[in-house]
Structure formats: structure tokens, C-alpha cells
Amino acid sequence: MAKTRSAMRRKETMYGYIFVMPWIIGFLAFTAGPLLFSLFASFTDYNITSHMDFVGTENYQGLFTEDGLFWTSLWNTLYYVLFSVPLTTIGAIFLSALLNQDVPGIRVFRTLYYLPAVLSGVGVYLLWMQLLDPGTGMVNLMLGWVGIDGPNWLFDPNWTKPSLIFMKLWSVGGAMLLYLASMQGVSKTLYEAAEIDGANTFRQFFHITLPMITPVIFFDVVTSLIGGFQIFQEAYVMSSNGEGGPANSLLFYNLYMWRQAFENFNMGYAMAMSWILFIIVFILTMINLKLAPRWVHYEGGDNR
């Protein structure tokens, strides 16, 4: 009896590995293998064709001490993350609070606000290049209606990054749905009790809704932070083939890495860059995880 049970367990284990085998192969071939290679190559002068000589920490030292564009790209990326993450988070929460009410046409509103989130790629970037065009675009036309002389957006180094953040805010509906789902899971009795205690809508929002959705806020902040650091396509398309925009104001980290890797073929150098980004993102994610118990509220009490 015991023997057949262990035989069965062995059989289950065999089946288990057969089922997850595609992932294991893919993980080794497309993730783990490349990661190891990249870690090694970041200490070489690899250029994909002719040489791959060990150069120690030269790439890393060069980045930190001699490469001004590295710092420019890091600064641009930090600027983008610092503004886009809080703005899109607050925007999405505000929007989902509005969409969590019982007003006429609420289903239509939810669909409309979500629509931009599924649109992405070159078509959307081209659309925003036109909308933000200082002379022929819609945004400055509308600003003109209320007496504001709109900026030169993508042509003014001070306004290029806000332009991208602006575009990002248009598609805030994706995160909105995440919050909406979570808000609808908050127990009605909590609101009924607060109502009877005389708490107004705003107090209810800040003292019930907001604490109850903190797990989703946490998830959203962690993922959009990781995503924000990887901004590339928008900048590549909206700054004519990745030139980096006026005064390098759109030269984001990944764009500069792309240039080093696939235009200059400084593969070793670019891979060193990618590891620095990896470490930055990793540390920030760890800080997020460490800080989470202080503000993330998990129902059931055990604030792990």
C-alpha cells in the first residue's frame, strides 16, 4: 500500500514536470541563460562580432565617471518615474472613485475611460505628436479657448517629459479598472455604518475606501515603478528614430542603452548599463516591500 502511494506520487511528480517543462526550457533558454551571459559580458568589451576580452569593471567605472549621457539618461528616467507614477496612481484612484458611483450611464462611462488603455503602439504616439503639435494640434487650440498660450510641447526641452506624462494620463483607465474591481469588493456594511454615524462622502472615502484598496495601490505602484523605468518606445517614436529629443531631454535610460547596444554595438557596455538598471529597480522594489506593512492594509488583520 505504502509502495503504491509513493509510486503514485512519483508519477504525479513526473507529470508535474512534463507540464511545466515548456516554461523551464523557456526560462533557461530565454531568461536564465541570457542573464548569466549578460552578467559575464558586462565585464568584457564584447561587440557581438570580433572581440570579447575581459576588461574588469572598466564598463561600470566608465559609466559612472566618464559618461555624461549616462547621467542625463538616468536623470530623465528618474524625472519621468517620479512624476508619472504618483500622477497616474492618484488619477486612477480618483477616476475609479467617480466611476464607483451609481449615476446614469455608468457602464458607458466605464467603457469609454478604459478604451485608451488598450490602445498603444506607434498609432497612439503619432496621434499625440499631432495633438501636441504647437501650430496644428488640438491641445494648444483648446488651451487657447481658455486664454492659455500653450507651450511648444515636444519641441521644448522643458516640456517633452511632461508631454509623455500627459499622454500616459490619457490611458489611466487600465489601472482604474484594477481599483474599481477592488472598490466594489469593499463591504457595503462599512459604508452603511459610517453613513449612520454621520460621516460624509469624503470622510468615507479617506477612512474606508482608501485603506481597503491599499493592497491594489501597492501592486499598482510596484508594477508601474518597474514599468516606468523601462520607458522606451514612446521616446523612440516621438523623437524621430530615437535621437533623444531636443537637448537630449527624451534620452531615457533604455533609449541610451539601445543606442549603445544596437547602434554602436558596445554590447558589453550596454549590458553593464542593463545590470545597473536591474539593481536600481530591484532595490526600489525591495524598499517597497519593506515599507508595505506600514501602510498596506490586509483584511483579516495579520499585517504581514
Partner: protein, 304 residues
């Protein structure tokens, strides 16, 4: 649902406060509520104009003559509706070829993603085996790796095996599962009772058979979500084709549009027509399959 007991308790407690006994309290309170609802509605309506106006602007611009596009101030409605702009756009670049290429890649990516992720997720959700939790933790951890860290060494790998300028690097990885989809489908598999699987095993069914005959049919809604997300991802993919496709005959719509942008400079009417044509399939799919998008988001937030 709240129990009746709870309700009466709150009401009794509230009954002790003098405000609530006063009938005008409810009336006043009701007015305030309606006022807030009205503000809510007005905000949502104004916001939807902001969401929709860029799309209208894209459509409107695509129908204008170039003279009208350049006229100042820009017009909100085209003077004449030049539908021929669309034909001209389509003929100005090999868009038919780009569409076929994109469809080939997209179809294969969707098939690969659906099959592999469903298969892998079944293993993680329904077969108990040693090492499963560790492997699944690795699956989740891979979501935190910034794409560029693996992108460069992956390129080296594909270049070395002669896959540059082919569709293989865009399609083959889809057949080995991806963390996000495995996670999504596993969440869904977890809702299938284990007894069902056990009963089938008692009947002598193998896991392959159970996956095909029970797993696949019961997870159809989640599979639809994965299919739609992968369609969107592959259709909008810019980075992959940009990196791997050099031959113009192999270009996808996203790359084609980017090249088109370079050729046309600021011929916004044609550029907007092209953008709209590329975005149209996504918009149509969105309106038909909305509920699957929303379901994907709900599964995501359920996992926190």
C-alpha cells in the same frame, strides 16, 4: 450580504442620536447626496469629452486636406470629408503586405500563448509535485526583471543561431509560456474543484486527457482573456520587430507606420489615417470582447 441582525443593531445605535430622529435630516442628507451625484456625473461627462476628443481629432484630421490641416486656427470638423485620404495612405506604402505579416505573427503568437500557458498553468495549479512552489516563485520573480536586461543577450543568442531577419524571435518564445499569463490562468484553474480532477483520475484518465477534456473547456473565459491580451501585445509590438526585422518585406504594421512617419514628415492627414487604420482592429476587438479585458483585470487584482 449583510445579516438582518447587523442592520438592526446599527439602526438602534443610530437611533440614540438626536439628528437622525429629525425627519429633515434625511431630506437634507438626500439633497446633499443628489448634489454630489450631479457633480460626479458632470465630472465624468467632462472627462469623457477629454478622453474622446483625441480620437475624434484623429478621425477629423484624417479626412482633412493638407491645406486645412495647416490652416490657423485648426478646425474641429473637417470642411470636406476626403475619404480618399485613406486609399491614398494605403497605397503610399505596402500596407497590405504589412497587414499580412502582422496577422501571421499575431496568429502564431496567440496560438503559442494559449497552448503553452494553459498547459503550464495546469501543471502549477492541479498537479502536486515536489519543487512546485519554488518553481512558481521563480515564475513570479521573472516578472520583476526589466526586459532590457534579457533583451540584449537574447539578441546575441538569436543572432548567433541566424534568426535575425526572421519571425522566429517574435514567435518561438510565445510557445514557452510567460509569467503573467501563467499566473492569470493558474488563478482561474484554482477555482476548479480538485474533486473533479481526482474523479477523472479514478476513472483512469491521464493528466493530458484531463487537461484537454476538462481543463481547457472549463477555463475558456480565462483563455479568451489570454488570447485577447496576446493579440493586443503582438499587434502593438514595436520593439521586437524593430530589433529583429531589417527586410522591408518582413515589416509589421507598427514598423511600417514608423517608416511611413519618417517619409511623410508632417503630412498629418495621411499619418492620422494610417494610425487610425492600425488602431481600428484593436478598437473593434475591444468593443466586442470587453468583458474578457475586464475579467483579466479582475483576475490580476484578485492575486494582489
Amino acid at each position: 450580504m449583510t445579516s438582518h441582525q447587523d442592520d438592526t443593531r446599527y439602526i438602534e445605535e443610530a437611533g440614540s442620536t438626536k439628528d437622525i430622529k429629525n425627519p429633515s435630516y434625511f431630506q437634507h442628507h438626500g439633497n446633499r447626496k443628489n448634489m454630489l451625484k450631479l457633480i460626479n456625473f458632470v465630472l465624468l461627462a467632462a472627462g469623457s469629452l477629454m478622453i474622446l476628443s483625441p480620437l475624434w481629432w484623429m478621425f477629423s484630421t484624417s479626412l482633412k486636406t493638407m491645406a486645412e490641416v495647416m490652416s490657423f486656427p485648426p478646425t474641429f470638423f473637417p470642411e470636406s470629408w476626403n475619404w480618399s485620404n485613406y486609399i491614398r495612405t494605403w497605397e503610399a506604402a505596402p500596407f497590405t503586405q504589412y497587414t499580412i505579416n502582422t496577422l501571421v505573427i499575431t496568429t502564431l503568437v496567440v496560438i503559442g500563448n494559449v497552448l503553452s500557458n494553459s498547459f503550464i498553468a495546469y501543471g502549477f495549479a492541479k498537479i502536486p509535485f515536489r519543487g512546485r512552489n519554488v518553481l512558481f516563485a521563480i515564475v513570479l520573480a521573472t516578472m520583476m526583471i526589466p526586459g532590457f536586461v534579457t533583451l540584449i543577450p537574447q539578441y546575441v543568442l538569436f543572432a548567433k543561431i541566424g534568426w535575425v531577419n526572421t519571425y522566429y524571435p517574435l514567435i518561438v518564445p510565445a510557445f514557452f509560456g510567460s509569467a503573467f499569463n501563467i499566473f492569470l490562468l493558474r488563478q482561474f484553474y484554482m477555482t476548479i474543484p480538485n474533486e473533479l480532477i481526482e474523479a477523472a483520475k479514478m476513472e483512469g484518465a491521464s493528466h493530458f486527457y484531463i487537461w484537454r477534456k476538462i481543463g481547457l473547456p472549463l477555463t475558456k473565459p480565462a483563455i479568451a482573456t489570454v488570447a485577447i491580451f496576446s493579440f493586443n501585445g503582438a499587434w502593438n509590438d514595436f520593439l521586437g520587430p524593430l530589433l529583429y526585422l531589417n527586410d522591408e518585406n518582413l515589416y509589421t504594421l507598427q514598423i511600417g507606420l514608423q517608416v511611413f512617419k519618417g517619409q511623410l514628415n508632417t503630412q498629418w492627414n495621411y499619418l492620422m489615417a494610417g494610425s487610425l487604420l492600425v488602431l481600428l482592429p484593436v478598437i473593434i476587438i475591444f468593443f466586442f470582447f470587453q468583458k474578457y479585458f475586464i475579467q483579466g483585470i479582475n483576475l490580476q487584482s484578485g492575486g494582489k
